[in-house]
């Protein structure tokens, strides 16, 4: 068997093993070592002198001293602290009374709360679950359509992995060697565009058919404006300022993403103290969860880098490249094909696996089709919104189903998510047709 053929065996065996459900990081590491031993085999050499062992240590260490990935635990810590700062109910209530004049006020407030909270924490599961307990029953009680209410919470909570400062873009940056700073600048406009489309959609639906989103009785929202501003200043403003200062420090080049994340984490602790939510127990929870989730993401990198360096040494990368080039694709069809594959991978897999393991397969092809890796990254980030909303692994829908009242069916939640999926595709299309949506902000900040 020739080496590139062996690489194909390696890739297909890996995909099969993934489906068996074994922890992926270790599968990648072991397969890298085993196939690597064969690939680097030199007759007569001592077993442990094989190059693959040096490669494994070297790759592991290059993840350990990777200054891009340093931001991952810091942003996670910031997220876990904010999650524990008791800010969510105040935030939702303040937005709800502030937006009371708008049709579908509660759903719009829920969307903005989800988007803001998810952006600050970056942890989708927590946002959907917390909002599923807080806003979902409130909307149902107010007579909102189940599907609309469910879609709003699932789609809103998922925005956290897209809108900067998001961990997903750091991971993409570490995978593709595109600067995280530029990725952040590039993802802001598309992220807000998507969030804006969600809001417009809810308002339009509520205006056309007010039965979907009845207005609350006047006495429940009749709060004087001075009080509304006070409420906003207590909940909305501090969180928005925290996010904007972290993001601003990164975009204006005042701090690296890791430094800004550290400041953000410190700010989150201060926020928790101010809201009287800071306790030893909560700090410990946040610290330990940070360690666990960082280990999950970074060990995946350790495995993946070992696997992929052996894979490309065997010529697997070249084989895929030749295969794709032989398909006579142009830029458009290549983008369509690659995004369709990523969309399909999102059904059974989560974003971390897709970005760390599968996106690197596409990256070497980009120059051939004249696609900028930064632009591609934004498309991928948008696309992966769908991985939380499409069955069978629609994590957001499951989180909501887990805490929703019994009479809300899983299928209802899925149906509620579909229109929002449609808007993700619309945004991707707009980004493709008007690349300026991606390039405008990076150009403003950093020139061409």
């Amino acid at each position: 068997m020739s080496n590139p053929e062996l690489a194909l065996v390696m890739l297909s065996a890996f995909i099969f093993i993934i489906l068996l459900g074994f922890p992926i990081a270790f599968t990648l590491m072991a397969m890298g070592v085993m196939f690597g031993y064969y690939a680097y085999f030199v007759p007569g050499q001592e077993f442990f002198d094989s190059r693959v062992f040096y490669l494994l240590s070297q790759n592991t260490f290059s993840i350990m001293n990777n200054d891009v990935l340093t931001a991952v635990p810091l942003f996670l810590f910031m997220g876990y602290m904010i999650e524990r700062s008791n800010i969510l109910d105040r935030l939702f209530y303040s937005l709800q009374v502030a937006l009371r004049a708008i049709p579908g006020a509660m759903a719009v407030a829920a969307l903005i709360t989800c988007a803001l909270f998810a952006t600050a924490t970056g942890i989708v599961g927590a946002v959907v679950t917390l909002m599923g307990l807080l806003a979902f029953p409130a909307m149902l009680k107010a007579g909102y359509d189940q599907k609309l209410a469910a879609g709003v919470i699932c789609a809103g909570g998922t925005l956290g992995i897209l809108i900067p400062p998001s961990i997903m873009l750091i991971v993409y940056g570490a995978t593709s060697a595109v600067s995280v700073v530029k990725l952040y600048a590039a993802a802001i406009v598309p992220g807000f565009l998507l969030a804006g489309l969600y809001v417009v959609y809810v308002i339009v639906r509520a205006t056309i058919n007010p039965k979907l989103a009845p207005k609350l009785p006047k006495e429940e929202t009749d709060v004087p404006w001075v009080r509304v501003i006070m409420l906003l200043a207590q909940a909305f403003v501090p969180l928005a300022v925290l996010i904007l200062s972290v993001l601003g420090a990164i975009l204006f080049g005042l701090a690296t993403p890791s430094e800004a994340a550290a400041i953000g984490a410190l700010g989150a602790m201060v926020l928790a103290i101010v809201y009287r939510a800071f306790s030893w127990v909560r700090l410990k929870e946040a610290v330990f969860l940070t360690a666990r989730t960082s280990a999950m993401v970074c060990w995946l990198f350790v495995g993946s880098w070992t696997f992929s360096s052996v894979f490309s040494y065997l010529g697997g990368e070249g084989l895929i490249k030749n295969f794709v080039l032989s398909m006579n694709l142009n830029t458009t069809t290549f983008l369509l094909l690659s995004q369709a594959i990523i969309f399909l991978l999102g059904w059974p897999l989560e974003w971390s696996e897709i970005i760390i393991i599968f996106v690197p397969i596409f990256l070497p092809l980009l120059p051939h089709f004249g696609v900028d890796p930064m632009f591609f990254g934004v498309l991928v980030a948008l696309n992966l919104q769908t991985s939380f909303l499409t069955p069978p692994m629609a994590m957001s829908a499951y989180y909501l189903k887990g805490i929703a009242p019994k009479f809300v069916l899983l299928w209802t939640i899925f149906k509620g998510c579909f229109p929002f999926l449609g808007m993700v595709f619309v945004t991707m299309f707009l980004v493709y047709v008007f690349p300026q949506l991606v390039y405008w902000l990076p150009n403003v900040f950093y020139g061409n």
Binding site: I17, L20, G21, F22, P23, I24, A25, F26, T27, A30, G32, V33, F48, V52, F53, L56, S57, Q58, T60, F61, I63, M64, N65, D67, P73, L74, F77, I123, G125, A126, V128, T129, L130, L133, L254, S258, E259, A262, I263, A265, L266, M269, L283, K284, V287, T290, A291, R292, T293, S294, A295, M296, V297, C298, W299, L300, G303, Y399, I403, K406
Partner: protein, 196 residues
Amino acid sequence: MLQKFLINIDRFSMAVGHAFAWCILILTLGTSYEVFMRYVLNNPTSWAFDMSYILYGGLFIMSGAYALSRNAHVRGDVLFRLLRPRVQATIELVLYFIFFYPGVTALIIAGYGYAHDSFGYREVSVNSPAGVPIWQLKALIPLAGTMLFIQGIAQVIRCILCIQTGRWPRQLHDVEELESVIQHEHEKQAAGEGAQ
């Protein structure tokens, strides 16, 4: 007896993971201090950059076994979760020997050589004149591998127990993600209401 042995392994991985988890707090405060020194006092430190990746690297590599003991490593378990525990355990037992131990053993042995070389000349970072040592960071690689190896033994025994009894044995618990805590409480509540 065996159960106690398994829980003790969990406890060991957890203790090490928890100890290294506190790196995040030092990392947060240390990096904030650097930013403060740079902008407010105009006097950047020479060690902050090296400190940041050393803390981050130690944090995640030494939490690997802890994450394994809490089943926090990501898996593509769409099909896996539908299987009966006994089938799950059989698959997992086989895969531990094919896809866990070879990689982890290689990590221990290769990492040992790698760290040994680095320790031989007391390697320091080239990023700054401060000469921050980094051989200790490399020494964590074989240690982390060893921790995984030990935790792996506990997981393998659990697979065997599960094949015998048809039920997954108990694992040590500590903190849970907020969503699983809430979801769990909700389930209990719903079950309680159903019983009444």
